[in-house]
Symmetry: C2
C-alpha cells in the first residue's frame, strides 16, 4: 500500500483530478523519484532544485514550500523504512491550446515501500531503435511525457534485456530509459554531457563529484557505442537503483566488466548517501 498526498492533504484511494488537468491530458508536468532510506529522503535538496529548475523552464509556478510541507507530512504519517517517494507536478488546468498558461499547478506525492532488490543488480541492455531527441529541452527534463522511454523499455523487454540503451540523433550514447550511462576507461570516469540529450541525474552528479576519491578524473564527453565495448567498465546510475553494472549489450557480453572498479564507486556513493542523510548504515546489501 502506498501513502498519498494530493492538493494539500493526505488522501485514501483515488484522487480528485480536474478532467482538464494538463498532466493527465498532455503529459504537461514534471516528476521526481526520491529514495527513502530508513525514513530519510536521499539528496532531497538536489531533487527539489532540479524540479524548480525544470518548472521554471516549462513556466509552471510550483511552490517549493508546499512540496516540502507535503513530503514532511507524508513521511511523518508513514512508517516505511525504505521507500520510494514520487513527486508529480502538473501545469494544472489551462485554457484550450498547447501554449496556454495555468495559475495553479497540481501536486501529487506518493510514498511506496521498497525492498532495495534492484540496487547494484547487473543489467543487460538492448540498443533501442528509438533515438533520444537532444534537440528538445525535454531530453534534459524529467517531464511526465515518457512515451518514448516506455516504448523503448517495452522493446528491450521483448528482446530479453533489462533496459534499453538510447542513442541520440547523432548515434552517440545518451542514456537508458531510466538511468544515466557511465564508463571507466583508464583513469577517466566518462559520461555524456547534458547536451547529448541527457537528464541531469542526481546520482550522475554525485558520482561525478566522487570521481577523484575513486582515483579517477571526471570527464563529460560524447561516447560512441563502440567505446562501451572497449572500456574498462560500464554502469548505470539512477536515484532508486543507484548504480548497476552493465554486463552485456545486444546479447554481446562486455569483455571487461570491471566490477571491482564499479564496486569502489558504489561504496563511495553509499558512504556519501549515509553522510547526506545522517544515517550511518543506510542499506545492508
Amino acid at each position: 500500500m502506498s501513502a498519498v498526498w494530493f492538493d494539500g492533504a493526505l488522501v485514501e484511494g483515488r484522487i480528485p483530478v480536474d478532467p482538464g488537468d494538463r498532466g493527465l491530458t498532455l503529459g504537461d508536468g514534471l516528476f521526481e523519484t526520491i529514495a527513502i532510506f530508513n525514513g530519510k529522503p536521499v539528496y532531497l535538496k538536489a531533487h527539489l532544485d532540479r524540479l524548480d529548475s525544470g518548472a521554471r523552464e516549462l513556466g509552471i509556478r510550483v511552490s517549493r514550500r508546499e512540496i516540502e510541507s507535503g513530503i514532511a507530512e507524508l513521511l511523518r504519517t508513514s512508517s516505511f523504512g525504505h521507500a520510494i517517494l514520487r513527486l508529480t507536478v502538473t501545469r494544472g488546468v489551462g485554457a484550450r491550446g498547447l501554449s496556454a498558461e495555468s495559475d495553479r499547478p497540481a501536486l501529487l506525492i506518493t510514498l511506496a515501500p521498497w525492498q532495495l532488490g534492484t540496487i547494484y543488480a547487473p543489467v543487460r541492455l538492448a540498443t533501442s531503435s528509438i533515438r533520444r531527441n537532444q534537440s528538445s529541452p525535454a531530453s534534459r527534463l524529467k517531464s511526465l511525457s515518457y512515451i518514448d522511454n516506455i516504448l523503448a523499455a517495452r522493446e528491450a523487454s521483448k528482446a530479453g534485456a533489462n533496459d534499453a540503451l538510447l542513442l541520440n540523433m547523432q548515434g552517440r550514447v545518451a542514456c537508458s530509459t531510466i538511468a544515466n550511462v557511465f564508463l571507466i576507461a583508464g583513469q577517466s570516469l566518462i559520461t555524456p554531457p547534458l547536451s547529448e540529450g541527457v537528464l541531469p541525474g542526481i546520482t550522475r552528479a554525485r558520482v561525478l563529484a566522487l570521481a577523484r576519491a575513486a582515483g579517477l578524473v571526471a570527464d563529460e564527453r560524447p561516447i560512441a557505442p563502440a567505446d562501451l565495448f572497449s572500456s574498462g567498465a560500464v554502469f548505470l546510475t539512477n536515484s532508486i537503483r543507484l548504480i548497476r553494472p552493465v554486463m552485456a549489450i545486444d546479447g554481446q557480453t562486455l569483455p571487461k566488466p570491471g566490477l571491482d572498479r564499479i564496486r569502489s564507486i558504489f561504496d563511495l556513493l553509499m558512504a556519501d548517501i549515509a553522510g547526506s542523510t545522517g544515517t550511518l548504515d543506510p542499506v545492508t546489501l
Copy 2:
C-alpha cells in the same frame, strides 16, 4: 462548462483517478479530438480506428464498445450544437517499471462547446528548434506525451507566431504542433509521408482522398523547408480547425498564398463532412 464521462458514468466536477494511473504519471496513453457539428461527430469511425490501432501498438487493451457507449451517452445528455469531443485513454495502473502492463485502461471523455472561430483562420508559423523525432513510433501516435509539442508551441507563441513548424531529424518538414502540413505545387497536392515523423491525421487522409476532385494529384513525399516558399500554397489540416492557410513562416510572407486553391479544397472538405455526418449545412462561415 464541459460535460464529462469517466470510467463508465457521467461525472460532475473532478474525476476519481487512481494515483498510480500511468496516463497521469507517465503520459502513457492516447487521445483523440473529434469535432461535433450540429451535435454529430465528424469522421468518428476514422478516429476510433486510429485509436484502436495506436492502442494495439502501445499494448493498451481498450474497449471500443465502451468508448462508443460513453460517446453516445455524452452526446445524448448534452445539448451542445458545435462542440469538441476529447477521448483520453490511459494504460491504467501498472506495476512499477516502464514496461509494466495493465489489465484495465482508464477512459475519459469530455465534451466542450465550441465557437468555430479557428476554422480557416490564417496562420503564421515559426520554425521550431525542436525536431520531430521520427525514430520513435510516438511521432505517428496521438499519445498523451505532448511535452515537445507544448515546448514548441510556447516557443512559437513567444516569437509572435500562431503555431510552430516542426522539422524532423533530417531537417525536412514534418508537421506543426497540432496539424499536418500540405503544399500545392503545380497540379500536385503534397504532404510528407508518415515515415517523416507525421501523425496519420484524419483530416489529412480526407484531404488526400479529395485531391482528384480538386483537380490535383495527391503526392506523399518528403518536403524541404525551402519548398514551402516556392510552392503555390501552403496549408495546415487538423480535426478541429480543419484547414488553415499559412500566410508567413519565420516572419517571411509566403509569395504565393494561393488562397483560391486552398479555399476550393476547403469547400470540398466541408461538403465531405456534411455528407459523412448527414448534416447538409454543418457550418456557416
